[in-house]
Symmetry: C2
Subunit: 208 residues, 2 copies
């Protein structure tokens, strides 16, 4: 057994529907499993563009999109989470992602992430609207104007670009993705439990 706390990186994109239940589930599950989680917001847009997609695959492939909304609704119903589709879908997530990086430095990041997801997919609100984001920030006592200013700093902009590059380097192609310390990828809300188990006890399985 390694002598360090097991860790999982939680890579998510604010426009990603399945990241919503994952963001809501991960903290209590990880705590119960004794696994430390790092929230790592990134943008899927550049990765999708690189494979020739100019919007969500759930828009490009209507049957898959219809299924996803139904599946999300079932999953969220079991978690007692509301679901309401925002317009447009997908939402522009850049401002929220930059703000999340600020918040993760300052101790309010995880609360902010959950608040964004609840507003976006629970209430169908726009997360590309600075006023909506300011309202969320005010909700837990953060000076919204100051935070939004810091989110526009060169340091934060370049941090988010670096995170996106790292996501691409790791081979991420969707969200949420959980990555363990030994580099094992687990894609999808439904792989959260497997990722936590692997973080605690990595398995040796043959290369495919």
């Amino acid at each position: 057994m390694p002598d360090v706390t097991p860790m999982v990186d939680f890579w998510f994109e604010f426009a990603s529907t399945y990241s919503y239940p994952a963001a809501m589930r991960i903290a209590p599950l990880a705590r119960a499993a004794g696994v430390t989680v790092r929230f790592r917001p990134f943008l899927l847009g550049p990765i999708f563009k690189a494979q020739g997609w100019d919007t969500s695959p759930f828009n490009l492939y209507p049957a898959k999109g219809r299924y996803m909304w139904r599946d999300l609704t079932r999953i969220c119903a079991a978690l007692d989470l509301p679901v309401r589709r925002p317009e447009p879908f997908p939402q522009m997530s850049l401002a929220a992602a930059r703000l999340a990086l600020v918040g993760l430095d300052e101790g309010w990041g995880e609360d902010f992430c959950r608040a964004v997801y609840r507003a976006e997919f629970g209430e169908g609100r726009r997360i590309d609207d600075a006023a909506v984001l300011a309202g969320l920030l005010a909700g837990f006592g953060v000076d919204a104007i100051a935070a939004q200013e810091r989110a526009q700093s060169a340091a934060i902009k370049s941090r988010l670009r670096a995170e996106c590059a790292e996501a691409q380097r790791l081979g991420l192609f969707g969200a949420p993705t959980f990555v363990t310390a030994d580099g094992e990828l687990f894609w999808g809300n439904d792989r959260l439990e497997a990722a936590l188990a692997w973080a605690k006890e990595p398995q040796v399985v043959g290369a495919a």
Copy 2:
């Protein structure tokens, strides 16, 4: 409670990797849950073509493909199932699908389906090879020549075409997909348990 045995249609494609663990898991899980399963082989090729794909999405999107083989290997390791990638991938599945329809009429269909998956993804063998399929049939005492002749009949060819049309009508876009009697879709090996639970007790969840 409805007065009939709960039922799930198990739609699968022999070229589909995640259909392999699903085919191996479904019979004992359904039996334990008291759910009747219908095996329904179909072809994804026409559905993929309709959305502009000429091969598996796991080939079109290399990062997704690398992840899938690793994920499949982990899933199969936990089930004590071997994994070996067949060449080429995906395999042509038409002959196996027609034979499966014959076998499902004659009582050896489910065993045949499991044998095809084990040969293809457990041993990396070609399933477009009539000799391989004949060997599998002989393994459980079926007259391979007669069965392969029946698989080429106009009746079976048209049955498979009708099944593919039905899959498209149901909104299937991938495999495996489980469909309950009330028309609820569950896509992916990881949704098998949810599909069985739904078949036993359909939920009322809000429309997305």
